[in-house]
């Protein structure tokens, strides 16, 4: 029981330190829901300067500015969609970790699906091939006799 408690405590502290790694700002929110939306946006938006860091994960000056913008836009009652559009209009689609479906992102969205289908096709093909019978196994009269002779020979040798 004590051990279980300790393990839980360790898990909890690991979770907390993970949260502590994220950049810290002091922002006030109208309500809890807005706060959660802010964190969600911070996770889904990408810092334009950093090669691969979420907005909420970076301490670069531009990320700090953009978090401030996101906070301001949330305060003005914009929807998540509007906030993303605002940033895309300035920094391009690069800032979206989940790019919108459009003609030039089609490949990005469809390639995994295509690979999955190819994989399924290959598996089906292999399964089908394995089940296929390996020709007929009946022997005609002469073959039967030869077989018997061979077996008899085998016995004699032993």
């Amino acid at each position: 029981m004590k051990r279980l408690f300790l393990a839980l405590l360790l898990l909890l502290s690991a979770g907390l330190s993970g949260a502590a790694l994220a950049a810290i700002d002091t922002y006030q929110f109208a309500d809890q829901e807005t706060r959660l939306r802010f964190y969600q946006l911070n996770d889904e938006l990408r810092c334009p300067k950093c090669q691969n860091q979420a907005l909420g994960d970076s301490n670069s000056p531009i990320a700090i500015d953009l978090r401030r913008e996101v906070h301001r836009l949330l305060g003005e009652g914009n929807s998540d969609r509007e906030i993303k559009d605002y940033l895309v209009a300035r920094y391009g689609e690069y800032v979206l970790y989940r790019p919108q479906l459009s003609s030039h992102t089609l490949m990005l969205w469809l390639t995994p699906l295509a690979l999955l289908l190819i994989g399924l096709a290959v598996v089906l093909l292999m399964v089908k091939r394995r089940k296929a019978p390996h020709g007929t196994l009946t022997l005609d009269a002469t073959e039967q006799q030869r077989l018997k002779a061979l077996l008899a020979e085998d016995k004699e040798l032993k």
Binding site: P48, P61, I62, G92
Partner: protein
């Protein structure tokens, strides 16, 4: 026929090798500006030299200009500065002093020279966000109507100027004259 199947891995390998060798040559920091052929966003910010003087988008109009985002905290800007001094004779350069300290910026200009027609003092980086600035230095080519025509991220040096900026600037200047 079966033998040909043996070449499938080789074909896949070659295709991937080609793809990745192309990827190696791509610049991961290159980001197309979302603002190309869009008007410079409206702003109202003080001038660097005088706190009382407010500058707006209208101050950029009328001439082909380079809009140069710089700051004293930016080492590459210092590296870029001498070349901007040379360019100042050829084209109007407007500075955006980005998230900087006013006194430090003024000291910089008096010590190193001032290539700028004027400087917008964007202390909080609000104009920077509207322009899609994500670092300094960045340089935009603005036509006389105030449209962004090109964006260069990084230092402007002789090579960048001759290869990328000058052809467009010359073209725009010719258009503006006709």
């Amino acid at each position: 026929m079966k033998r040909l199947y043996l070449f499938i891995p080789l074909v896949i390998f070659i295709a991937l090798a080609l793809l990745f060798s192309k990827g190696l040559k791509l610049d991961p920091t290159a980001m197309p500006s979302a603002l190309i052929d869009q008007p410079v966003p409206a702003f109202s910010l003080p001038s660097l030299s005088s706190e009382q003087r407010l500058l707006t988008r209208d101050d950029l109009l009328g001439e082909v200009s380079l809009l140069n985002v710089w700051a004293t905290w930016c080492p590459s800007c210092r590296h870029e500065h001498p070349y901007l001094m040379e360019l100042a004779d050829q084209v109007r350069i407007i500075g955006i002093n980005y998230k900087d300290d006013r006194a430090a910026a003024l000291l910089w200009l008096s010590a190193l020279g001032d290539p700028y027609a004027f400087n917008v003092f964007d202390q909080d980086g609000t104009l920077g966000v509207d322009l899609g600035v994500f670092g300094a230095p960045e340089t935009y080519i603005i036509d006389p109507q105030g449209m962004v025509r090109y964006k260069h991220v990084g230092v402007v040096n002789e090579r960048v100027w001759l290869e990328r900026l000058k052809p467009l600037v010359v073209k725009l200047l010719a258009e503006a004259d006709s």
